[in-house]
Amino acid sequence: MDAVFVLTVDLLAASALLTVVRIVRGPTVLDRIVALDVLVTLIVTAVAVGIARHDTGSSVPLLLVLTLLGFIGSITAAHLVEEREDMR
């Protein structure tokens, strides 16, 4: 089972790396918002794998907080982009 956990985390890390490339490259703020949203979700999955491996329930609230924070962050950022565009 340990091999499975390691492989899963490796795959997640590779995904996170690709996502970070997109965050760096952009080109628009919206691309970065989408990529950041994916990155937050990847962190949620990684924490979940950690919970599965060590059966540490104390991290479960972290999952909830991250999920909701990612949601609120993306929505707020998108609204800001729209407002900035309207001001032009």
Binding site: L18, V34, A52, S74, A78
Partner: protein, 116 residues
């Protein structure tokens, strides 16, 4: 029982991680923000659900409720993010309109503009 759960959990975790990789490939390769949103909204959501399922097989029973809540929150929020970001992307011109096969919104927005 334990072994069966482990196998199920391994399958769920690995498929979930595979979908996360597919999402990342999509986010990296697709041409504009809305196409990338497709990957983020679908492949990533499925990936999270599968991994949460895999985790649920491994933890003690009273954490499963919380994990289910995380899954519900994911499912509830993803389409909202998709719509808000997608709408903003289209309106701010981040979508490559000229490369679209068909664009039925452009005419409507132009019409609304003329009408005031």
């Amino acid at each position: 029982m334990r072994a069966a759960l482990d196998v199920l959990s391994a399958v769920l975790l690995l498929t979930g991680a595979a979908f996360c990789v597919l999402t990342a490939v999509g986010v990296l390769r697709f041409p504009d923000p809305v196409c990338r949103l497709h990957a983020a909204a679908k492949a990533q959501t499925l990936g999270v659900l599968l991994i949460l399922g895999g985790t649920a097989c491994q933890v003690s029973a009273h954490h499963i409720v919380s994990l289910a809540l995380v899954a519900v929150f994911q499912l509830a929020t993803v389409p909202v993010v998709g719509q808000v970001v997608g709408r903003t992307a289209y309106r701010t011109g981040a979508v490559h309109r000229e490369s679209l096969v068909a664009d039925e919104l452009e005419a409507r927005l132009a019409e609304d503009e003329r009408g005031g």
